[in-house]
């Protein structure tokens, strides 16, 4: 049975697992980006999360929000490209609503919702534009109903991660309207959005961190 709250240990485990998964899927993410972008998404995130892992390792952050803020600023200053400011803002907003030693199931939903808001505020993409928003939007919706139904934080994250993964898969048939892939128009159809794919990986890491 999973715990009723998540604490800073979860946030630190998340960083470890996120870094692992991003590094592991580096080539795959870049390959997705090569097909409809410029082929650097995996490299960008691997560089960023490697720096994040080192930063979090050396920090004495004691709240979930403290860790997430470090994730945000480190991503902002190491990733570059579109994903750097987008993920950076997402984690910054998430950090703001989670500056507590423990967060509960509804807190997880609030955190994810803040992250999505950050991405939208920065990137101004709509649902269906074939971006990471298409992974985060169903993830937040799933987290909301899961939390409302009384699930544990781990269950909320699992629901969010699964929805994000489905959201990423669902970008395949879309025509991109934002980001580099939009230059391809119809030719972007049939390819998965790399940012949606990496978002699903990150949320999966968050869910696995909660299960441990």
């Amino acid at each position: 049975m999973s715990a009723a709250t998540l604490d800073v240990a979860w946030a630190r485990r998340f960083v470890t697992l996120a870094t692992e998964t991003v590094v592991e899927h580096r080539v795959e993410l870049s390959e997705l980006d090569r097909e409809i972008g410029d082929g650097d998404h995996g490299e960008n995130l691997a560089r960023g999360f490697t720096a994040v892992a080192a930063a979090v390792d050396g920090s004495s952050a004691e709240t979930v929000g403290g860790v997430l803020k470090l994730v945000a600023t480190t991503l902002m200053s190491t990733v570059g490209g579109a994903a750097g400011p987008l993920y950076g803002t997402a984690f910054l907003r998430a950090a703001k609503v989670s500056d507590a030693p423990e967060i509960d199931a509804e807190g997880v939903h609030t955190l994810l919702d803040a992250g999505l808001e950050g991405i939208v505020a920065r990137g101004k993409a709509n649902v269906g534009d074939k971006t990471m928003v298409d992974a985060w939007t169903p993830a937040v919706a799933a987290a909301q109903s899961s939390a409302a139904s009384g699930a544990s934080p781990a269950e909320v994250l699992r629901a969010a991660a699964d929805a994000a993964q489905q959201g990423a898969v669902d970008t395949d048939p879309l025509v991109a309207l934002k980001g580099r892939a939009s230059y391809l128009g119809e030719r972007s159809v049939g390819h998965r959005d790399p940012g949606a794919a990496s978002s699903a990986l990150l949320l999966d890491a968050a869910a696995r961190a909660a299960q441990a």
Partner: protein
């Protein structure tokens, strides 16, 4: 992948170090790989900062110097730089009269420069931004991230650079930059893809008899793929949309820039220039200024872009004014 590199992860750093050493009479290197004008910011002059992913050399570091940029921020290969070094560059360029950010229109560049501008604002440096978007290959800018910034960027940097040099204030320099951006259009073609070092394989796949029309400068695929054609035919495919978008009807004076993508022999650029010029003249357009060479590249990509800037007396005079950078240099 065959490259003269030591390690994909050190390419950008070593390239910047080498570049700065080779041009130590013109530039210095600051923290975070920033390349700045030697001697520091010019007091009272509007500072010009540009930057973006590496792999487009000589853009931008090659255009740092008298008459153009005060600082350039090279990101990782084909990846826009993060806000920190942009802030370093902005501070280095600030002579108390504000700083103009010249940003190519890519989501990553726009977002990172935006953040840096906020950080600069927090340090009381006034920043104005011109977003360059000269690439007519992107047709429906309503349904995309908008037109991209490509070779026209060099002309924005050159002309706004001189406006700053002659003492225009920030709003005036911004206005000149926007005017250039409004009057410049480009379109490119790739014969071969390029290979980003850490990717290790070509950014896209082109068959031996295919070319990509409307290519971006990051190896992003373009408007469409067509069978290899003659240089004159390809030049028409690049020039026609540019002329159309600018609405040239004859009688205009223009600057014609034929830009190599990095791996194109100079002789082929001359062949493209020859036909583009003929076609412009046939439409009654006067080619008053010309630039032919590798200015905004995509690593070793074979291909070229055609850029047309509509000139008036002001832009012509600013373009002609002295410039002393690694990649563009003249005194008279």
């Amino acid at each position: 992948m065959k490259k003269l590199i030591n390690d994909p992860s050190t390419v950008t750093q070593e390239a910047v170090e080498g570049f700065v050493a080779a041009h130590e009479d013109i530039v210095v290197q600051l923290d975070g790989l920033v390349v700045a004008r030697k001697g520091g910011a010019v007091q009272g002059k509007v500072g010009l900062v540009s930057g973006g992913g590496s792999g487009h050399e000589p853009l931008h570091a090659g255009f740092v110097g008298v008459g153009m940029l005060d600082a350039a921020v090279p990101g990782a290969m084909f990846t826009s730089p993060t806000p920190d070094p942009i802030l370093v560059a902005t501070k280095a360029a600030d002579g108390g009269a504000g700083v103009l950010h010249i940003v190519k229109n890519y989501t990553g560049d726009v977002l990172n420069f935006e953040t840096a501008a906020e950080l600069a604002d927090a340090e009381d440096i006034e920043v104005a931004t011109v977003v360059v978007n000269d690439d007519v290959a992107v047709e429906d800018s309503l349904y995309t991230a908008g037109r991209r910034g490509v070779a026209g960027t060099v002309l924005v940097e050159k002309i706004a650079g001189v406006a700053a040099e002659r003492g225009d204030d920030l709003q005036a320099v911004l206005a000149v930059a926007q005017k250039v951006n409004a009057q410049v259009r480009s379109m490119g073609v790739a014969l071969t893809a390029c290979t980003v070092p850490h990717a290790g394989k070509p950014s896209f796949d082109l068959a031996e008899d295919e070319i990509e029309i409307g290519i971006g400068i990051h190896g992003e695929p373009g408007r469409r793929r067509i069978p290899l054609a003659s240089a004159d035919e390809i030049t028409d495919l690049l020039l026609d949309p540019v002329v159309e978008d600018l609405g040239l009807s004859g009688g205009e004076n223009v600057l014609l820039l034929v830009n190599g993508m990095g791996g194109t022999p100079a002789s082929e650029l001359s062949i493209v220039y020859r036909h583009a010029r003929k076609q412009l003249e046939a439409r009654g357009v006067t080619v008053a200024r010309s630039l032919v060479g590798n200015y905004v590249t995509s690593l070793e990509m074979q291909g070229a872009s055609v850029t047309v800037l509509v000139l008036d007396d002001e832009l012509t005079a600013l373009y002609d004014a002295p410039v002393r950078t690694a990649a563009l240099r003249w005194e008279l």
